[in-house]
Amino acid sequence: MSSSIPLIDLRDVKKQYINDGVATTVLHGVSFAIQEGEFVALMGPSGSGKSTLMHILGFLDRLTEGAYFFRGQDVSRLDDNALTAMRRDQVGFVFQAFHLLPKSSVIDNIMLPMMYVGVPRSERRKKAEQALDSVGLSHRTDHLSNQLSGGERQRVAIARALVNNPSLLFADEPTGNLDSKSGSDVLQLLQNLHTSGHTIIMVTHESEAAEHAERIIRIRDGLLVSDARDHARRQGSIYNK
């Protein structure tokens, strides 16, 4: 696996925001590679730049300096439409705040991304139902999304993220708005998805959540501070700085 081209290859990535002439550097040079099939937890204190990094990885934002290769191709050379196409065809997002359309039904929410991919209308519902089934919510198909509990909403959001068969699933603090029971359901679901072959990058600041991942990348103040895999963690080195 390591011999093949990594799915994600970040090299000395820096990100600077300029607001009203004031520059804020959020990422100071982050490098790592992620292979297909991995389940990575991106950890760090609040404000350390986790979401910013995830947005760059997920083609929602652009880096300021450094390089990002996705399957060996230079992402910084893509124009806006090509970046949009990458979001549409390569990745799925799960957000802390769910971001479902509140007045639309569960099934409509899940069908939304398929509209932009160009899945024929006749196939959309079946695919959405399959995705909904895979998160265990078949009985909620025609409910309005704002009639669901938080845990259910996040599972619908996961179904929506999966419906186009993305190469990569991003989850930004997916349990942040959930009680511990729903939170662990969602984490279990993500772990099952990983087991069945999905590549997952999960941003979190909770250690218990990160336990579900097989690799933990820690950042602090925009710098990578550790990168530990399962076997290393089992050897007790995981909490090393």
Binding site: H55, L78, R87, A97, P113, Y116, V117
Partner: protein, 426 residues
């Protein structure tokens, strides 16, 4: 694993998202805000409906007048006083009255015309005993009936000898006869026009109205009597003649005769130097066409103003909608909606709104036009319902265009939103 997704740049063209998707998305968001959508398009609905209604009434009136003009025949020529220039129109207080009975006589003497009649018109009180009415008193010559055909129901019409002898006689319209005499036979009885007593010698059969004037309320007297004894003027308001020649050469003949009568030195045949104006029915048709054209331009500008106002309303509401739905737009962009897909979605919403406004406006305009026509038809004889088809079609087309123009700015704003900031928006 996902070799089929390797392509980085997929050329999908501008209209990638199928129209049905766009249509469903746009219409469902509009129907979610039904009352707001309806209020938004109200301006456009009212603007278009009002223009169709006014155009319909204008065109019906125009058609009615044109029909009546045609009824009078194309061989009819009118001569009116004029203070120069190329103004034309009904006798007005501001125009110096220059026509005399002698002018009509000169035309008659030329032998070029089949019928010549001079007329003087004035509204005044007419009474019989206690009964008093206001009526349009018309001084005419014996040729009047061949200019404005009507049947004599009882008695006789004014004859040449009545005109020559300043006879104090009158011929009544059907309604005024009824009003003054009820069921009695008016022939031979006397009435008073202002202070002058005249004897009724005839009653005309029912004529209805022409150019919005009720002919059955009129009273005809010899033009000489009207001038000397009733109105107190030695002029006439207009002279009418029929010709069997070519209209344009007949008009020129009249001009030369009258210039001689009025001592006007005008060898270059410049009608602006004349103190009269000669016009035929075809001139009247032309003027009515010009009036109709002006009316249409006027109404079109009102329509344009109301559509701009309506369009600004649409733009305002679409901007509100974009702001309210910032998160939705952020999400759509996050899951892969392109700039042009978001643009099309919001543009289509604006267009659906205005198109709906256009259609409803046209429907209301047509219905009210029909309604107005049926009401007017019961008051005005010969009134026909005309629904201007070009206004119906352009109403919808223009409304749709308004949607595109005024929807573009909000739609661009939506399409330009940054997905991360949009998702973070509260």
């Amino acid at each position: 694993m996902r070799a089929d997704k390797e392509a980085f740049i997929i050329n999908r063209g501008i209209f990638f998202v199928q129209l049905p998707d766009l249509f469903m998305t746009a219409s469902s968001s509009l129907s979610r805000n039904k009352s707001r959508s309806i209020l938004t398009i109200l301006g456009i609905v009212i603007g278009i409906a009002a223009v169709i209604l006014m155009l319909s009434i204008g065109q019906s009136a125009q058609g009615l007048i044109l029909n009546q003009v045609a009824d009078l025949g194309s061989d009819l020529i009118f001569i009116e006083p004029s203070s120069g220039g190329d103004s034309s129109g009904p006798p007005s207080a501001f125009v110096e009255q220059t026509l005399k009975i002698d002018d009509a006589k000169a035309l008659e003497r030329s032998g070029l015309f089949m019928d010549v009649s001079s007329m003087i018109v004035s509204s005044m009180a007419v009474s019989r005993g206690e009964e008093s009415k206001f009526s349009q008193v018309t001084g005419v010559t014996e040729g009047y009936l061949s200019i404005f055909p009507a049947d004599v129901a009882e008695g006789r019409f004014i004859e040449r000898s009545d005109v020559d002898s300043y006879a104090r006689v009158a011929v009544l319209g059907k309604e005024i006869a009824q009003d003054l005499f009820g069921d009695q036979d008016p022939i031979g009885k006397e009435i008073k026009i202002k202070q002058t007593t005249v004897r009724v010698i005839g009653v005309l059969a029912e004529q209805g109205s022409r150019f919005f004037q009720n002919l059955d309320q009129r009273i005809a007297v010899p033009v000489t009597t009207a001038q000397r004894d009733i109105i107190g003027l030695d002029t006439v308001n207009f002279i009418a003649a029929r010709t069997s020649q070519d209209i344009e050469s007949a008009k020129d003949e009249i001009r030369w005769i009258l210039r001689a009568e009025h001592d006007i030195d005008n060898p270059e045949n410049d009608v602006k130097k004349d103190d009269f104006i000669v016009s035929s029915q075809s001139d009247a048709v032309e003027i009515i066409g010009i009036v109709g054209g002006v009316l249409t331009i006027l109404l079109s500008s009102i329509a344009a103003i109301s559509l701009v106002v309506g369009g600004i309303g649409i733009m305002n509401i679409m901007l509100v909608s974009v702001t309210e739905r910032t998160k939705e737009i952020g999400l759509r962009k996050a899951v892969g909606a392109t700039y042009s897909e978001i643009l099309q979605q919001f543009l289509l919403e604006a267009v659906l709104l205005t198109m709906l406004g256009g259609i409803i406006g046209v429907l209301i305009g047509v219905i009210t036009s029909r309604l107005a026509a049926s009401i007017l038809a019961s008051y005005i004889e010969g009134w026909q319902s005309i629904v201007p088809m070009e206004a119906v079609v352009s109403g919808v087309v223009v409304a749709t265009t308004v949607g595109i123009i005024f929807g573009l700015y909000p739609a661009r704003r939506a399409a330009h939103l940054d997905p991360i900031e949009a998702l973070r928006y509260e």
